[in-house]
Symmetry: C2
Subunit: 124 residues, 2 copies
DNA sequence: CAGCATCCGCCGCGATACTG
DNA sequence: CAGTATCGCGGCGGATGCTG
């Protein structure tokens, strides 16, 4: 509840809540998870196999966060043992293009970044 | 393109280095900083005033990181006292549209997310 | 003006063990 | 199968104080 600063205000109005939302949604594992779920709904362990390096604690945390923010839906089937399926929501879908764009950006510019790093590291 | 993994491979090939790059570039303050510098080159303290909540340690760290990744250029003028100007690089400019899109996404969907959070928090 | 140094708390993330 | 519980660490970020 940022009373708008009397003077400057941010460039295009990025606020704390904006940043917070992006933090929640762009955290370490969320991108992969959403990518996976955009392709098809998946069970918990399917996601683990699809993203082999994630620990299940982190995966759980990412899913909970995404669920809380309305990006992912958790569907429980009370069989025995229970089955849980995660699927992307309509709200989550609105991020898909952006995620794809981000990934494309990284692949397109990885080389340039790499060179910049070498230059920087070399000079110091 | 990096050799596709023999088995699963990620959905669209997000790798550790991709994630790492995004982490460097989308960290807590980088977005605001790049936003500011996309508008115009700015001095260190100008940035501080433009983003009043950032501490200078964090601002320094963000600038260093952005510089190392080739997104921002640090121009030192050896007057007395010295002046340092930061400006966006060509590589950095390639991110501008994405940043804008991310910000637009947050403003457009903040309400939906808010409702999702209330629903989620209410149920537990 | 543009930082660096230090201390310190928080939490993201991993590793490991256990459960309905 | 789909988690929860606990421990521990490393690193980010804030607060404060000092400097060429």
């Amino acid at each position: 509840m940022q009373e708008t600063a009397p003077f400057a205000s941010y460039a295009s109005g990025i606020t704390a809540s904006h940043r917070e939302l992006l933090d929640q949604v762009l955290d370490k594992w969320s991108l992969q998870v959403m990518e996976e779920l955009c392709e098809q709904p998946q069970r918990f362990n399917e996601l683990r196999r699809a993203i082999p390096v994630v620990t299940q604690k982190s995966l759980t945390a990412a899913l909970r966060r995404l669920e809380r923010n309305g990006m992912v839906e958790r569907v429980v089937t009370s069989t025995r043992p229970i089955a849980v399926e995660y699927r992307i929501t309509a709200l989550g879908k609105t991020l898909q293009d952006l995620i794809d764009a981000l990934l494309r950006w990284t692949t397109d510019n990885m080389d340039g970044v790499e060179r910049a790093r070498e230059r920087y590291d070399g000079e110091n």
